[in-house]
Subunit: 344 residues, 2 copies
DNA sequence: ATCCTCCTTGTAATCGTTTCCATGCCCCGT
DNA sequence: ACGGGGCATGGAAACGATTACAAGGAGGAT
């Protein structure tokens, strides 16, 4: 493969000049610029990014470690991160932790070894020592969606409390009183925050959240199924099940159907995280939508700010309730025929 | 950040010995090994992968360029590729082409610049000059799912003809005679192959496939919606619409509902590519399932074979029909309560 | 005791860039 | 005419690892 030396030889110039042309250095003659351009063209030369990175100590690459690629929420987050990063001249390398702390650490280590310029993490685990250490290390880092408290790392996330209050109001308006939640892992911020927000919102209506109506899930469909089976086996099953993420909601839907029950007539279902498919399920699922794409963009900005020496900004964006039919007929007489999420 | 020199100094040895220890070179004393290990531990040293790559001319990284991350089929493919690659000691960098040839080229170029050891591509476009050029270049390459004819590049893919025949038989058995298809872009292999297989399968039953029943989509939901609206506006609309991928099927479902029609009573719907959500739609959608995870694994093996100098193997795996309820009640009296896809 | 071999270690070249510094040149002001 | 200040260019030193080659030392065979 042709190197910069070959270009220099072909252009009859030194490698220094070729490098200057390639990097748009001002102090280079028109003539030299033209000769180099021609030689580059002729040889099909492409600079070796590895060598360049070694020398300049920057890779123009961002790392993104997410907890589960198969979760459409994270997929969309990843897409938006990549798009924004590309617009700013960075590449993105994604590491999928699969909700497993040791895999998460593996990816963090690998990315650090590769000398990425910055790291975007949605921690699968509340207490990874590697993460603490990384946060204190020289590589810029930003948390997105989930975070770890007590670290001096900017956080970009959505706040669900308002939307959860709206959801509870909606459910209460529909006459539901016995409400259950499938929680995420307690080790994640999103895992317990959503439960607490739910509990508080219920409290405002004087509704308690007893322990038997709080199921412990792990953000995967199977756990939603399992927890829901438990709810349904209760002497007094809940009126509505609220799943703390979309995958567990799907599992819950499975469990309800397997039991021969109908949504929403026999039991209601709502989910945190709205995904395009929720429009098409039977029935369409009421959900809390995060501004996923904006989160991705904001995270990239916070990270590049950090990398390029500007003061970074933690961001918290609001989520919003999207009412569909899985908890009973909505209050509005005529449901909007063009659901905003039906635009895939 | 600590470098190999610091380790050497701390251990009282030369960098050469340190490097040897790090790479498991046999000829190094127990004593040296221990001193180096201690120094590495003490300094928290991690080798700089960039420098290593420059010297050894290998990055232990694979590139994967797919057409659309938001398509669950590709997401799962990516996941399986990453897992298998990791098991073999490689990292994976994903490039999302978003079905746009110029973006695809951008990612291919970036990956090549980064000197990845091998490239896995599902071309968004049948005729990218860059792709031809890359195929002839020194970087090992393998096509997965889609491919470009006329290039000496191994192909790992699923064959849908058998399953499409099964689908047509199923539809015919249900009494459907007027069958339409939403095709993918003609520039992709999967785009036209599926139409041809469909046409042939119909032919075996003496059913024609007139031009007005072949809609031109682009593998995105919107195109499915648009094409289906066209079908429904026909003087004689089809009995069943077969979408060549899952996203277009979702668009079709939208269009049908928007028209106030019911699936399968008013019109049937089937899709190529089975995804977990098809179990939960109203009604569950009959689809053709590809062995996605196996495809990913096989692709990684073919690529690493090429990289490591073994003879690579093109692989074609069969797809299979998964009958659900979107084309009418299945023939079997009692539908299987445990749909295989309900395991997310 | 001498020589040969094997094992361990160190010195230094190398990978492909960027960039500091020195050099030569041209042009301008005096 | 001469000095000085750009400007364009080239030579060579990094960046942090791997590895070819050389060399020193221990130990066995003669």
């Amino acid at each position: 493969m042709a190197g910069i030396k070959d270009v220099a030889a072909a252009a009859g110039l030194s490698v220094a000049t070729v490098s200057r042309v390639l990097n748009g250095h001002p102090s280079v003659s028109e003539d030299a610029r033209a000769r180099v351009t021609a030689a580059v063209e002729g040889l099909g030369y492409r600079p070796n990014a590895v060598a360049r990175s070694l020398r300049t100590d920057q890779t123009r690459t961002l790392g993104l470690v997410i907890s589960d690629v198969l979760n459409p929420y994270f997929t969309e987050l990843a897409r938006s991160v990549e798009e924004e990063a590309r617009a700013l001249g960075y590449s993105v390398v994604i590491g999928n932790a699969n909700e497993r702390p040791e895999l998460q650490d593996h990816h963090v280590r690998t990315l650090l070894d590769r000398r990425i310029d910055g790291l975007l993490v949605s921690p699968a685990d509340g207490s990874s020592p590697l993460m603490r250490q990384t946060a204190e290390g020289p590589t810029p880092m930003v948390f997105v969606d989930r975070w770890m408290p007590g670290l001096d790392v900017p956080v970009v996330r959505a706040d669900g409390t308002g939307a959860i209050r709206d959801l509870v109001a909606h459910l209460h308006g529909l006459g539901h009183r016995r409400l259950a939640i499938i929680a995420g892992p307690a080790a994640t911020t999103t895992g317990h925050e959503r439960v607490e927000a739910f509990r508080e919102a219920l409290h405002a209506y004087g509704i308690p959240l007893p322990a038997e109506l709080v199921g412990q899930g792990d953000f995967q469909a199977d756990s939603g199924r399992r927890v829901t089976e438990g709810f349904l086996a209760l002497p007094e099953p809940p009126d509505v099940v609220f799943a703390a993420d979309n995958l567990m909601a799907l599992g819950a839907l499975d469990a309800i159907r397997a039991r021969g029950l109908a949504v929403p007539d026999d039991i209601g279902l709502a989910a945190f995280d709205d995904i395009p498919w929720f429009v098409h399920t039977g029935p369409p699922i009421t959900a809390i939508a995060q501004p996923t794409a904006e989160l991705g963009r904001a995270a990239v900005h916070a990270l590049t700010d950090l990398i390029e020496g500007r003061p970074p900004q933690s961001v918290t964006l609001p989520s919003r309730l999207v009412v569909r039919r899985s908890c009973g007929e909505p209050d509005t007489a005529a449901p909007d025929p063009r659901d905003p999420r039906s635009q895939l």
